[in-house]
């Protein structure tokens, strides 16, 4: 144990002292900030607006407008040939052509001419917009007033999910938040296992090619060497993540104060939203007894009900759901699977590192290790999100190789029976012990063999070598 501790210290200190670690620690939060800021910046800039040149020879299309201004419609004059030429001159525009034969009853024959292919989203959006336009025109022809239609349209329906928990209480639920939490956790486990697992492998191979292992192995057991390395690198990873969180928080706070986004509006927003929530609660929970009070509260809330407040109320709803999440359990489970998954895979990565002489030979052995990891991440994004308590999700959250990612994805959705969680955790611990044993055997033989690249069959034999 003392030797593992010494090895742990060396692995940790030499890595943490490296320049690359310091650089990554400083650059990490900036990259993270960039990862969030760039899509927002891109989305807010107008650059992806599509200019649609409209040649309407039928005269039936009417005035086209785009509600979210992602399309700009410019009418052009016939003939079609000239319009096509114009398209060539005006880069980045498309031409929408409605032939003279077009009628509202038969809107076939609409044609779109483009220089470069339109994105799928843009094309589908345009199709939808045109369909709605024809619908509206048909409705108007039938004498239905648009204001009547607008009044009849339902826009503010939002399905509020309430989960009944074991104790019979009720909890607000929000699939979006749950998915975000699960996905975030799963992604972290996936990245951490991959990045630092490969570091374990690299470290072992380096020791082997350096021949330092011959010296080491005469004073420590191969198993101690492997465990010290795995744990040391885990600590490096955790340190890096912790520093990133702290630095990211620092950077965001600094940026926020720089751009004058103080916290007061947020608080006000929450307060106001809570009023709205109270009103809602009073409304739903009311009977005749508190009817009057509820009506007043509702009126007060309603008086403020412009679009902005509605949005803020929604935000508050999310906030209340954020508070409703059982963070303690979630965090505990996350940390367990985070470490368990890493340890399980790191041992295998270490074994691969011991089996080969050079990193380039490792590919063949990496495959069976990375497969379940990648598979579970894909499954987590598809099958688990669609049906978090379905058979695929349940089975994969029990198997040790896939459980870290899949279970982390499942937990925020709730409804995981205690026995499944207990079984999954037990199996993960057993799995970790198993892979470490397996890796230890391969490591012990592989680390002292040079030259030949072993086959899987040979690796199998190594497991049963004595000593």
């Amino acid at each position: 144990m003392e030797k593992i501790w010494l090895i742990f210290q060396r692995e940790y200190l030499t890595r943490v002292r490296k320049k690359s670690f310091v650089v990554m620690t400083l650059v990490g939060p900036l990259l993270l900030a960039a990862a969030f800021a760039i899509p927002i910046w891109l989305a807010t800039s107008d650059d992806d607006r599509v200019t649609v040149r409209v040649l309407d020879e039928s005269g039936k299309l009417g005035q086209l407008t785009s509600a979210d201004s992602s399309y700009r419609f410019v009418p052009v004059a016939p003939p079609l040939a000239a319009a096509k030429l114009g398209l060539k001159e005006q880069k980045g525009t498309v031409l929408l052509y409605a032939p003279p034969t077009l009628s509202l009853d038969n809107p076939a024959g609409l044609q779109l001419f483009t220089e470069a292919n339109l994105g799928l989203d843009q094309q589908l959006g345009l199709e939808k917009l045109l369909r709605r336009q024809v619908e509206q025109l048909r409705l108007r022809r039938s004498g239905i007033d648009e204001t009547v239609l607008a009044a009849a349209r339902v826009t503010d329906l939002d399905l509020k999910t309430t989960r009944l928990d074991a104790s019979g209480g009720e909890k607000d639920d929000n699939a979006g938040l749950v998915v975000a939490l699960g996905y975030g956790g799963a992604l972290l486990i996936y990245l951490f296992t991959f990045l630092y697992g490969v570091q374990v492998m690299r470290g072992v191979t380096e020791e082997k090619t350096n021949r330092i292992v011959e010296v080491m192995i005469s004073s420590v057991r191969p198993f101690q060497l492997m465990m010290g390395k795995i744990l040391g690198i885990a600590a490096v990873g955790l340190t890096q993540f912790a520093l990133w969180v702290v630095l990211s928080y620092g950077v965001t706070t600094a940026l926020a104060s720089q751009f004058g986004i103080d916290k007061i509006p947020a608080v006000q927003q929450t307060n106001r939203a809570q009023t709205a929530l109270a009103a809602e609660a009073a409304d739903t929970g009311s009977g005749a007894t508190v009817g009057g009070a509820s009506a007043t509260a509702k009126a007060a809330a309603m008086s403020e009900q412009d679009a902005g407040t509605a949005q803020k109320a929604k935000f508050a709803g999310v906030w209340s759901q954020v508070k409703a999440v059982n963070w303690g359990t979630l965090l505990a489970v996350f940390v367990f699977y985070f470490l368990g998954g890493y340890l399980l895979y790191a041992a295998l990565f270490g074994a691969v590192g011991a089996a080969v002489d050079a990193e380039t030979d490792a590919q063949q052995f990496m495959m069976p290790i990375t497969m379940p990891l990648i598979l579970s991440f894909i499954i987590a994004q598809t099958a688990v999100i669609n049906n978090p308590n379905g058979p695929v999700a349940v089975w994969m959250s029990l198997i040790p190789f896939t459980s870290p990612i899949v279970m982390t994805m499942r937990i925020p959705f709730g409804g995981v029976p205690a026995w499944q969680l207990a079984l999954s955790m037990t199996l993960l611990v057993l799995g970790f012990v198993g892979t470490t044993w397996l890796a230890g055997r391969i490591y012990r033989v592989g680390i002292l063999l040079y030259g030949k690249k072993p086959t899987f069959k040979e690796l199998g034999k190594w497991l049963f070598y004595k000593g």
């Binding site: 030797k3 010494l6 060396r10 030499t14 011959e214 005469s218 004073s219």
Partner: protein, 318 residues
């Protein structure tokens, strides 16, 4: 120099080790007396490293056992053994001093004690202000010295040196040789594995010779050489004409004329006759004036080559 005491420090008893289809060590037995330098000799691939790995407990034998001071080898012995592997290696990006402290602590030494001994050794082996350097910035010879220090730092009772002089220039090789002799003087038992014979005779008290996974010879160097004596003598002298040995008890191996009527005669005594018989014959029956006589005892190198050839031949006929 302390005389080897009777109780062996290490006993190898019928040790065998099999890898896959290849036999690395097969039924090897020998004793290593305490306080001696024991030469473990053999051509490449004879099983020396496999045997050393068993002694250092890197691997376990399939058959037989190894006793350390009469006890079966167990992990508590690891810290009493120092091993300098043939394949040297250090963490390249680590400072010399730091690395030595790390390796010493893995052997169970306290940090302060390790630092004290490291400083002594670094002074002894001419590391002037190089302790702060990264290993990769040192010359190869200096790296080898670091490795040597790492091996002896914890003052092991048994020191195993696998080709300790490879990579050293003659000056540093001498420096290391003196340190090895000094360690023996202090009572350390040393296993010296090599296939370079010239260093064996100067250093070793005992040897064991391995070939093709088997031990083919062992014992004190003196005894081994004596057992290979062939009663062959080299005689130098002067004579107007070369002396003619016409006698059934003498076999002339070689005869050479040197300038100024000098000659060199190599003769083997047959039928158990003594050297005196030859000398009397030369003095009485030839005009030779004898200036020197000495016995040609085969060098370990000759013995090595001869025994290996014989055992190969035995394998072919078998």
């Amino acid at each position: 120099m302390t005389e080897p005491s009777a109780a062996p420090l290490l006993s190898v008893r019928h040790v065998g080790k099999q890898y896959d289809r290849h036999t690395a060590v097969s039924d090897v037995s020998f004793d290593i007396p305490a306080g001696c330098i024991f030469g473990l000799l053999g051509p490449n691939g004879a099983g020396k490293t496999s045997l050393i790995r068993i002694i250092t407990q890197i691997t376990a034998p399939d058959k037989g056992e190894v006793l350390f001071k009469g006890e079966r080898l167990n992990p508590s012995h690891i810290s009493r053994i120092g091993y300098l592997p043939e394949e040297r290696g250090l963490y390249k990006k680590m400072q010399v001093g730091e690395q030595l402290v790390y390796l010493a602590r893995l052997k169970g030494m306290a940090k302060s004690e390790a630092v004290r001994r490291i400083n002594t050794w670094l002074d002894k082996l001419d590391f002037k202000g190089q302790a702060q350097k990264n290993v990769e910035d040192l010359s190869k010879g200096m790296q080898q010295k670091v490795q040597f220090i790492a091996t002896v730092l914890h003052e092991p009772e048994l020191l195993i040196l696998d080709e300790p002089f490879s990579g050293f220039d003659p000056i540093n090789a001498n420096l290391i040789k003196d340190e090895i002799l000094e360690l023996r003087r202090k009572g350390t038992t040393i296993i010296f594995s090599t296939h370079r014979m010239e260093s064996v005779e100067e250093l070793c008290d005992h040897i064991a010779l391995l070939n093709r996974s088997r031990k083919i010879l062992d014992g004190p160097v003196k005894d081994v050489r004596n057992s290979f004596r062939t009663s062959t003598y080299e005689i130098l002298g002067t004579s107007p004409s070369p002396p003619i040995l016409a006698h059934p008890d003498f076999h002339v191996v070689a005869q050479e004329r040197l300038p100024d009527n000098h000659f060199r005669l190599t003769a083997q005594l047959l039928n158990g006759v003594q050297l005196n018989v030859l000398l009397r014959y030369l003095i009485e029956k030839t005009p030779a004036q004898i200036s020197s006589v000495h016995e040609l005892i085969p060098s370990i190198n000759d013995i090595f080559i001869r025994t290996v050839r014989e055992s190969e031949a035995a394998l072919v006929t078998a």
